[in-house]
């Protein structure tokens, strides 16, 4: 019994990371380490207004007083923050015109399946491509501006829409929210900005694609999305990084503001380099994602498929401030080999009659650890509110771990909370049964896992769902068969 399970698990562990190449581009690189001078250097490089430099310095000073959080079910050696490069940018400057973009970069994004050339663009998806610290190119800008939609790199937004940025920056994630948020606020390099005007239904999917390339750098991007009254947008985020032996830190912030009657769908397919099969290398993905349903009847929906990263620390949350507002969190998190993921959500009910749904599907294999950590807080004023949580774990083999930490605080008694949890195992019997019907182990695992994660995958936009399915199978199946 043991030997055949071991064999399967070993085979699972051998899948290679397909995005691990390095692009050879000349880069502007800050000296290693972090101090006020580095922050000034970043701000100067980006030719930022002084209010933003002040914002950064304030965050930095706050960060100095904070401690790295260690309550997550994660295990990693102390991070040396002075040994990280906080700014790296491909040298050739570029903006709206593709001719300005380094051909090496275009090649890189092509290789990743993200075409930036006009004629090859993903149909119906506008992409903002972020390479190391800077946004390289945003596609479809003309189509978008016709509808009044602003979608550009964060730096451009600071230049062109300073009032909007100033008004909403850190309005959902305060600079001192947590250690990594403070760090990001001090050193963030670029990211995406998006504003959907009143009553506009964004005609295409928006998407940011993040790529870490340079060695020893951290990536600290920042996304800010504002959906004005009665608007709608669906936003997707993808990412990859080269295969390196050392760990790299990624500490991003995503802030979303959803006004009255507006709706935002935010989907992530996270595929940072997870490290090798012995747990060497990989990205530390320590990100803060939060949105606020500011007005009545606002709706915010997070969908995430997490397959990459050596360590994940991530709790996309919703602050349900408007009455009748709705928050959703749909998640599939896969851990393999020595990966560790501590992920979940925070649903903060403030408005009356607010509703949240949490569907979390963990899949653990190898020696990995997969934890769901959630908080549902129903405030005193949030009468007649509801939460439904379902946290399932699927285990492969007996060397991995699955944990759930659902925290609930209910401050009124007119609200209803439901919680369900299951743990199951892919058994050798199930695989034998599938094999006996002529189905290879690879397809069988694909069938089982996709069946298990169906509820979440079906939430993803079409363009993403296919990729996510493939990724799920890839990150699990290995070289079996």
């Amino acid at each position: 019994m043991d030997s055949s399970e071991d064999k399967l698990i070993n085979e699972l562990a051998n899948e290679e990371y397909k995005f691990g190449f390095v692009t050879d581009v000349e880069a502007d690189i800050a000296p290693k380490g972090l101090n006020e001078d580095i922050i000034r250097y970043i701000s100067a490089k980006k030719e930022e207004p002084s209010w933003l430099l002040e914002f950064r310095l304030k965050a930095y000073r706050k960060w100095l007083t904070m401690k790295e959080p260690h309550w997550g079910h994660l295990d990693y050696p102390a991070i040396d923050y002075q040994n990280i490069i906080y700014y790296a940018a491909p040298k050739k400057k570029n903006l709206a015109n593709l001719n300005d973009v380094d051909p090496e970069l275009i090649k890189t994004f092509n290789k990743l399946g993200i075409p930036l050339e006009e004629q090859k663009k993903l149909s119906g998806v506008a992409v903002d491509a972020v390479f190391d610290s800077v946004s390289v190119k945003t596609t479809f800008q003309n189509t978008l501006s016709k509808h009044g939609v602003i979608f550009c790199s964060f730096s451009e937004a600071v230049r062109n829409y300073p009032e909007l940025v100033k008004r909403y920056l850190s309005s959902v994630v305060p600079i001192g929210d947590n250690f990594f948020a403070a760090l990001n606020s001090a050193v963030f390099s670029d990211g995406s900005f998006c504003y959907i005007p009143k009553g506009v239904r964004c005609p295409i999917e928006l998407s940011t694609y993040f790529r870490i390339n340079a060695a020893n750098t951290g990536q600290f991007e920042r996304t800010l999305i504002v959906a004005d009254v009665g608007s709608y947008v669906s936003y997707m985020e993808g990412c990859t990084a080269p295969q390196r032996d050392e760990n790299q830190l990624h500490a991003a912030i995503v802030e979303i503001v959803v006004m009255k009657d507006a709706e935002v769908k935010y989907s992530t397919v996270q595929n940072w380099y997870p490290g090798d099969k012995d747990g060497k290398g990989g990205i530390y993905n320590f990100v803060t994602k939060r949105g606020i349903c500011k007005g009545n009847n606002a709706k915010l929906s997070w969908t995430q498929v997490e397959t990459g990263s050596a360590k994940t620390w991530k709790y996309p949350g919703c602050i349900l401030k408007g009455d009748n507002s709705v928050g959703e969190f749909y998640s599939v998190a896969v851990t393999n080999n020595y990966q560790q993921a501590d992920t979940g959500t925070k649903m903060i009910h403030i408005g009356k009659n607010t509703k949240s749904t949490i569907i979390s599907k963990g899949i653990s294999c190898g020696h990995s650890d997969n934890s769901y950590r959630g908080l549902v807080h129903i405030g005193k004023q949030a009468s007649d509110s509801r939460n439904y949580s379902q946290c399932d774990s699927l285990l492969f083999g007996d060397k991995c771990g699955a944990h759930t930490y659902p925290n609930v605080i209910a401050e009124n008694n007119s609200s209803i909370l439901e919680h369900e949890a299951t743990t199951s195992k892919i058994s050798e019997e199930q695989l034998f049964y599938c094999n006996q019907r002529g189905i290879s182990t690879e397809s069988a695992i694909g069938l089982i896992v996709n069946g298990y994660a169906k509820e979440v995958l079906s939430r993803l936009p079409m363009e993403f769902a296919v990729e996510a399915r493939k990724l799920l199978s890839l990150s699990l199946e290995g070289s079996i068969g």
Binding site: M1, S4, S424, S427, E428, E429, Q430, F432, Y433, C434, N435, Q436, R437, G438, I439, S440, T441, S443, L447, I448, G451, Y452, K454, G481
Partner: protein, 247 residues
């Protein structure tokens, strides 16, 4: 010859289960295997299907004149070996439709054929469901999940009908079936019988053999086939039990 087993020795965790078993099966034949609990009937079935938790300590299995010891479980299946499980396994989240479609297409891909067109697949599902009088709603559910014992057994025969194997091994398909279901399932099997395929039917009850009339009956006792005969042997066993075979 379709299947030829020569002097097979099989053990698990150091415990010897099959101790020199031989069996020949030709196309067009139905063989029944009977024997007391724990003598190795299911083990034999699993080993033919290629389950690797058992170790083969001696002897060989020839299928269509190939030594199949190096064949994976799915290769054996795609070469036409089907096992109706004594204890069918539940696979939550995987719909019967998706499961069957995947199975059929993997076989077709193995044979170098294109995937089955959807209308043809659906028509086939319909036809085979009727063959075993399976309730329509069962195929909309996950594989065996929450199926009753009898429904699971019917589902095995349904899958067999879908996959059209050359060698079908039915491990106690009759246990757990009510009288009507037994008749339906047996009729299904009889309709699938042809000069091109063969069946090995493992059962404890002679009653099944009234419906599916075997060409040969074998007694598996203590890891070996100790007696072979025709269907009369089953009647004799029903009367006398396995007393005579005890040493």
């Amino acid at each position: 010859m379709l299947l030829q087993i020569k002097n097979l020795h099989v053990s698990i965790e150091g415990k010897e289960i099959l101790k020199g078993l031989s069996l020949n099966v030709n196309r067009g034949e139905v063989h029944a295997i009977m024997g007391p609990n724990g003598t190795g009937k299911s083990t034999l079935a699993s080993v033919i299907a290629g389950r690797d938790i058992f170790s083969i300590d001696g002897g060989e299995i020839l299928y269509k004149n190939n030594d199949i010891s190096g064949w994976s479980v799915d290769k054996r299946a795609n070469e036409g070996i089907f096992l109706s499980f004594q204890y069918p396994v539940e696979i939550p989240g995987v719909s019967m439709v998706n499961f069957m479609k995947t199975a059929i297409n993997e076989k077709r891909s193995y044979l170098g054929q294109d995937p089955i067109p959807m209308p043809e697949f659906m028509a086939k599902m319909e036809e085979k469901k009727q063959l075993v009088e399976m309730q329509a709603k069962l195929t909309n559910r996950s594989v065996n999940e929450g199926f009753s014992g009898g429904e699971k057994k019917k589902n095995e025969i349904f899958q067999m009908a879908m996959l059209e194997p050359e060698l079908a091994i039915l491990d106690e398909t009759d246990s757990g079936l009510d009288i009507d279901a037994l008749r339906v399932v047996s009729n299904g099997v009889n309709k699938l019988r042809s000069s091109n395929n063969a069946f090995i039917i493992i059962t404890h009850y002679q009653r099944l053999l009234d419906y599916i009339v075997p060409d040969f009956v074998h007694v598996l006792y203590d890891g070996k086939i100790v007696k072979s005969g025709t269907k009369e042997l089953a009647l004799e066993l029903e009367e006398k039990g396995y007393e005579n075979f005890k040493k």
